[in-house]
């Protein structure tokens, strides 16, 4: 064992404890914002941004701010389960871990080590990743360890390694504060990295930083830009090849840097000239007006301090690595790298994709930024004391799932991710997972599309707020995620479960960790092991933190080669790349083209992405009513001309189909969408929508270098789906999906909401309501010919238990006005009527009890009149309000009222 001897604690004194709040890190995007969590003692927590965290300085986005709404236990998996006689049954940890160990041991024995695999997640902590990677690559003997990060930033990793010789993000967030020009490529940062975007906005306000956005869609981010270049899908590298050509021709290069620190420039420039000989060609191929391209090139050439940020629009492409290379080429050629305010900058999607990369938890890395050379394999073998080292790359995510489908992989352990939703051809993946000889899943929810794939063992994982360990953000900053809630039920850390399986396989010494700090120390020690500056990733200086020092570790950027190492954390200002000759490599991008072509059958191109207030497959953000309010239903954005040609109007349901699958989404018509392209968000799944598994359509051809699938350029066709009725169901309790052709589940205050569409009309829905809530007191409104049914159910205290509203599609019910009734307590008569009316009455409502039935005059206006006119008699009331002037039945009451009010109080 190589667990180092702890050194005395170093930085504990520098931590200021803010009340009882726990300092932790947001579990969403790669910005890695510090969070102050104040547990309320009832299972929830108050959430605030950590003013001392350098990534966010106290700010949080909508998702982060709503974290407190997502820590409930209602959807959690709280005990191990095993499939016994076909049914999932509660099991002991011992039995469940034993089953995994037995299955993996037997499968390896019978079919070899590459018949087993682990599929991990950028949501895992670094220590979880480390344990999984060690188990597979050192002890099971396979590099079949991949992760959903493959879908996210693998092309950036490959692009970095091609150019720099290492997976190094050269810059830091502070570069955004100090740049004169920021170029965002394939990044909707305003929605997907909001705190970083606000930081950029602050810099723009402070120092006039220019913003150029390159994206096929006019996103919220693009709306803010000085210059927006709506590039055709996949043509980013043409744009940047053109930029390289322009820089060469406009004397914008840095010949000294090129000469001193790089190789391959001439070939790269020749390649760029072949791709982008002139502005007209660039304009033609990218679909961007030549004048705008020229403005961009001129801005770039004139701005020494330029940061080019890129994200999924660059990465999720069959040419993603080339796109990254084309961008990096321009920064190398201008020497704009590693200095304040400049450099290429990959914005990572997940909270700990970076940590996974550091660990090496990917099939094409070994560990700690080492590959599969004999020397590296041997080094790691010695460090781990490992008997069964993997000696070559394993299967990357898409290939891994193909191997699952083809039966080459027989036993799989999935941790913290939902591949049945998120992988390309997701329907085929779901099918393949369901047929595995052995499938184990570690997760913290008990229902998801992946959990529906007939797993043999389920392990209850800790969730955010319970987990303890580290994560690394996009600027290489390692921050602690700290627990502020007790582990619920029998949930355990993933690293612990991994170690337990390792022990059961007979490797007790290698998996003897007693704490997460021990795992971290070993990981840090490996990064520094025989490093001597040969590897960029080195946190050997943290390997000596004792448990207390680990507990209070402040956010810090790597490298940390020695304890307490400070100073500039940027890379490559003076070269020093991690290639054998220490020079960066220019690359020559291949002529780009999306892998799949549109044709008559599939004439549109499907772009997929994210929305502001949801995260991944919504297992967490989907619990927040606040977050659901922004865009509650799965949708497809289309250009007005495409929509018109298909007879699709805003709000219609539209079926998108590729050769792999189909979805039915709500159409949103926007000219921010390029013609011929459709955009759909990825968040919805079979667990929260009827037909919205967007990745089921995705072709997923992979990048030849990174293995990352092309998720944003799938040929599809679109057609209008006519359903005669639309509506909603609000319910206080959790229900099975309603019997409807189309539905989406939405978190609402006090319960759940369901948006529905169906061809069955009012009478069918009346029956369904009765079947669902037959035991409750109910009220209803029925208009068969008008196509309307609305039904409410009440509990014994008169609180709204459920509210169903179905109407004709052309006049679809809206729940805005009645959603709040679920939390309103016992409802009065006016509220009960409003619930069915779908809205509150006008000002005439709530005027006290009715006095004159004939003219509908309630008590209040009568009182008001008599107060205003003390002499008013019955005749006067009649003359003004008409009360009592028809049948006269209320005249006695009016008289009593007048008499009663005449008596001084």
């Amino acid at each position: 064992m190589n667990a180092p001897v702890p050194l005395p604690r170093a930085e504990a004194a520098s931590i200021a404890v803010v009340d009882t709040a726990v300092r932790t890190t947001c579990p969403y995007c790669g910005v890695g914002c510090g969070v102050l969590a104040s547990p309320d003692g009832a299972g929830g927590a108050g959430i605030a941004g950590d003013p001392e965290h350098p990534a966010n300085r106290g700010r949080l986005c909508s998702k982060g701010s709503a974290l407190g709404e997502t820590v409930g236990l209602s959807t959690r998996l709280l005990a191990p389960m095993m499939r016994i006689d076909g049914a999932l049954t509660r099991a002991s940890w011992d039995a469940a871990l034993g089953a995994i160990a037995d299955a993996f041991r037997a499968t390896v024995a019978a079919h070899g080590p590459d018949s087993v695999a682990l599929y991990l997640s950028g949501q895992l902590l670094t220590e979880d990743y480390y344990a999984a990677n060690k188990l597979a690559k050192g002890f099971l003997g396979t590099a079949n360890v991949d992760t959903n990060s493959r879908l996210c930033m693998a092309s950036s990793v490959a692009g970095h390694k091609r150019a720099f010789g290492s997976d190094t993000v050269p810059g830091v967030y502070a570069d955004l504060d100090e740049a004169d020009l920021v170029v965002l490529v394939g990044s909707n940062a305003a929605w997907c990295h909001p705190v970083l975007f606000r930081r950029l906005e602050a810099a723009r306000a402070r120092r006039g930083t220019k913003l150029v956005v390159i994206d096929p869609r006019r996103t919220a981010t693009a709306e803010e830009a000085e210059l927006f270049l709506p590039v055709a899908p996949g043509m980013d590298s043409v744009l940047f090849a053109g930029l390289l050509v322009h820089l060469a021709e406009a004397d914008g290069l840095a010949p000294d840097y090129i000469r001193a620190h790089t190789s391959g420039f001439d070939a790269a420039l020749a390649g760029a000239r072949a791709l982008a000989p002139d502005l007209a060609t660039v304009a033609l191929r990218t679909g961007v007006p030549a004048a705008d391209i020229a403005r961009f090139y001129a801005l770039f050439a004139a701005s020494e301090r330029v940061v080019t940020c890129y994200s999924q629009g660059v990465n999720q492409s069959a040419q993603g690595t080339d796109k990254v290379g084309a961008i990096i080429n321009c920064h190398l050629a201008t020497g704009r790298i590693g200095r304040p305010g400049m450099g290429p900058f990959s914005l990572t999607g997940q909270p700990n994709a970076m940590g996974g990369r550091e660990v090496g938890g990917l099939a094409n890395q070994l560990a700690a930024h080492m590959g599969f050379s004999a020397a590296e394999v041997d080094r790691v073998r010695r460090f781990w004391g490992a008997p069964n080292m993997a000696t070559r790359e394993g299967l990357k995510a898409v290939d891994m799932m193909r191997a699952v489908a083809e039966g080459r992989i027989k036993a799989l352990w999935v941790l913290g991710t939902n591949p049945a939703v998120s992988l390309p051809r997701a329907d085929a993946v779901r099918e393949a997972l369901s047929r595995l000889d052995f499938l184990a899943i570690s997760d913290n929810v008990r229902a998801s599309d992946t959990l529906a794939c007939r797993p043999h063992v389920l392990l209850p994982a800790l969730a955010w707020g319970e987990k303890d360990g580290t994560v690394t953000n996009s600027e290489r900053r390692i921050s602690r995620q700290r627990a502020f809630l007790d582990p619920p039920g029998e949930a355990q850390p993933d690293w612990w479960a991994m170690a337990q399986v390792g022990r059961r396989l007979g490797y007790g010494a290698a998996f003897g960790w007693r704490s997460v700090a021990e795992v971290f120390r070993e990981h840090a020690a490996l990064s520094g092991f025989e490093n001597e500056g040969s590897r960029d990733f080195d946190i050997g200086g943290l390997a000596g933190l004792d448990d207390d020092a680990f507990d209070v570790m402040t956010p810090q950027q790597w490298p940390v080669r020695e304890p307490g190492e400070a100073g500039d954390k940027r890379f490559f200002a003076e070269g020093g790349f991690f290639t054998p000759d220490r020079r960066a490599r220019f690359i020559v991008p291949a002529p780009p083209a999306p892998a799949a072509r549109t044709d008559a059958a599939f004439p549109l191109r499907l772009n997929t992405g994210r929305i502001r207030d949801q995260w991944h497959t919504m297992t967490r953000t989907g619990l927040s009513p606040r977050l659901a309010g922004h865009l509650p239903a799965p949708f497809a954005e289309m250009h007005p001309a495409d929509a018109q040609a298909l007879g699709i109007a805003s709000g219609d349901l539209v079926r998108l189909a590729s050769s792999h699958g189909a979805v039915v989404l709500e159409a949103r018509i926007t000219d921010g969408q390029r013609r011929g392209e459709v955009f759909a968000p990825i968040h919805w799944s079979g667990a929260n929508a009827a037909e919205a598994r967007v990745n089921a359509l995705v072709e997923g051809a992979t990048d030849p270098f990174s293995g990352q699938p092309e998720s944003k350029a799938t040929p599809v066709r679109a057609e209008r789906v006519t359903m005669r009725f639309r509506g909603f169901l609000l319910a206080r309790t959790s229900l099975a999906p309603p019997v409807a052709a189309w539905w989406t589940r939405v978190a609402v205050e006090g319960g759940e909401g369901w948006l529905i569409a169906d061809d069955d009309g009012p009478l069918a829905w009346r029956e369904r309501m009765a079947a669902l809530f037959g035991g409750c007191e109910r009220s209803e409104f029925l208009d068969v010919d008008g196509g309307i049914y609305r039904g409410a159910a009440y509990d014994t205290e008169g609180r709204l238990e459920a509210l169903l509203s179905v109407g004709p599609v052309e006049d679809a019910p809206d729940w805005t006005a009645v959603k709040g009734l679920l939390t309103a307590g016992g409802l009065g008569a006016a509220e009960r009527r409003a619930a069915l009316a779908g809205r509150m009455a006008g000002a005439a409502a709530a005027c006290g009890p009715l006095v004159c039935s004939c003219f509908g005059v309630p008590l209040d206006p009568i009182r008001a009149l008599v107060e205003a006119e003390p002499g008013a008699d019955v005749a006067r009331i009649g003359a003004v309000l008409k009360a009592g002037t028809n049948c006269g039945s209320c005249v006695p009451e009016l008289k009593r009222l007048i008499a009663g009010m005449a008596v001084p109080a």
Binding site: E777, F781, A792, Y794, D811, L836, A837, G856, P858
Partner: protein
């Protein structure tokens, strides 16, 4: 009273709500033109008959029912001959003959004789303890008889019967309703509303027997029981017959004035005798006899305007029932049952005792409200009635219509209400 001698004499036979309304309207429109004489068989000032059940239930006192006090009549110079029946009308001589032998000449004669309770042609109907519920005298008799423990049976589950039963139960009597039809108030309510009403009635401790035909009143010397067609005998100390009313048209018929069920009138409320008019429950207009106060008031208004010289005509009333029965507000109007060619909106909240059914008819491009039944909350009744009368297209508002005026867009919700009485 010499000033009045120059005025045209108008005699009103009947001193009910229609007569009072007519006098009020006419004296307001033409205060100096007519000498009004009201001849009434009942000895009381005109009173609000709608409140008789409240009086019976003890919710109001007799004075509360008085529509206009004596001073009001005197101030308008209206002569009241109360407690005096008219025995004959001579349309040729333009005279009416009174029971006290006196004769009144008239320029115009207004028949507002109202209607009388029907008494069933059944054995035992003449026994002491068999009563009706129609006027102040009936209420007096019922109040005198009602006491805790009294076994009372009301024949008839219509409005009057229900009110009588409610009043008797309120006075402590052990009360049952016998009704021939399969539901209460079948002419005003649909099955669902009638079912809700039955629940409300039964909640007051009143037994309800539907599909129950009375075969005979039994008893020796006075009422002892009621025998049903199925042979059951229900013990009873008191039987109230409330099976409906018939127009009091005998006087007109004897005078040779054209009558059907009631006194036939045209759109000007004129009978076929010169200068003779009829309003209220005794009148038959276009074959229709109304048993409700609102048409009577409408007729009174039209006739007053006409006599005052304003062009005015009566085109019939959309039938509306708007009342509080057994403590529950009930409204119905128009074709509330619907049927072929109609559509319906139903709003029901049984927990609140609320039920509404609106009947629509769509023809061509317009959708119109043609009927309504409201139970529990009738605040929007006259609003709906007005929509029916106006025939306005409510197509755009149909999703909100059943929830009431407060939920409708201003163009519909501010639609003028029926003119004030």
């Amino acid at each position: 009273m010499s000033a009045t001698s120059l005025r045209e004499p108008v005699v009103i036979i009947g001193n009910g709500m229609a007569a009072a309304k007519f006098c009020e309207e006419l004296t307001a429109l033409a205060p100096e033109r007519f000498a009004l004489t009201v001849v009434g068989a009942e000895p009381h000032l005109a009173y609000n008959r709608v409140l008789l059940s409240s009086l019976l239930a003890g919710e109001v006192v007799a004075d509360d029912l008085v529509l206009k006090d004596a001073g009001w009549w005197a101030a308008r110079g209206i002569e009241l001959k109360l407690g005096t029946a008219v025995t004959a009308v001579d349309t040729a001589a333009r005279e009416v003959r009174l029971a006290d032998g006196s004769v009144l000449g008239y320029g115009r004669l207004v028949l507002a004789t109202g209607s009388s309770a029907i008494r069933l042609p059944l054995p035992g109907m003449e026994l002491p303890g068999v009563m009706t519920f129609r006027d102040m005298a009936d209420v007096g008799a019922l109040l005198a008889a009602a006491r805790p423990g009294l076994r009372a049976i009301v024949i008839g589950g219509g409005l009057l019967g229900l009110e009588a039963a409610t009043g008797l139960a309120g006075a402590g009597a052990d009360t049952a309703i016998i009704h021939l039809a399969d539901r209460l108030m079948e002419r005003q309510l649909d099955a669902r509303a009638a079912g809700l009403l039955r629940q409300a009635v039964e909640a007051r401790g009143i037994a309800v027997h539907l599909d129950a035909a009375t075969q005979a009143i039994e008893g020796t010397g006075r009422v002892e029981g009621l025998r049903l067609a199925d042979g059951r005998v229900l013990p009873a100390d008191l039987v109230v017959v409330a099976c409906g009313v018939k127009p009091n048209a005998d006087l007109a018929r004897a005078a040779g004035i054209g009558c059907g069920r009631g006194v036939r009138v045209d759109d000007h409320l004129a009978t076929d005798a010169p200068g003779v008019f009829a309003i209220g429950e005794c009148a038959e207009h276009r074959g229709q006899v109304y048993g409700l106060v609102e048409p009577a008031y409408e007729q009174a208004r039209v006739l007053a305007r006409r006599l005052a010289g304003t062009l005015s005509a009566y085109a019939g009333s959309v039938l509306a029932t708007n009342l509080k029965v057994s403590g529950v507000h009930v409204f119905s109007a128009g074709d509330f049952l619907g049927g072929a060619g109609t559509q319906e909106l139903v709003l029901a909240d049984p927990g609140l005792g609320l039920y509404r059914r609106l009947v629509l008819r769509a023809d061509g491009s317009a959708t119109r409200l043609v009927g309504a039944v409201l139970f529990g909350d009738t605040a929007d009744g006259l609003f709906y009635l007005d929509l029916m009368r106006s025939g306005r297209d409510i197509g755009a508002a149909r999703a909100a219509l059943a929830f009431g005026r407060a939920y409708l867009a201003p163009d519909l919700s501010t639609q003028s209400l029926p003119e004030a009485a």
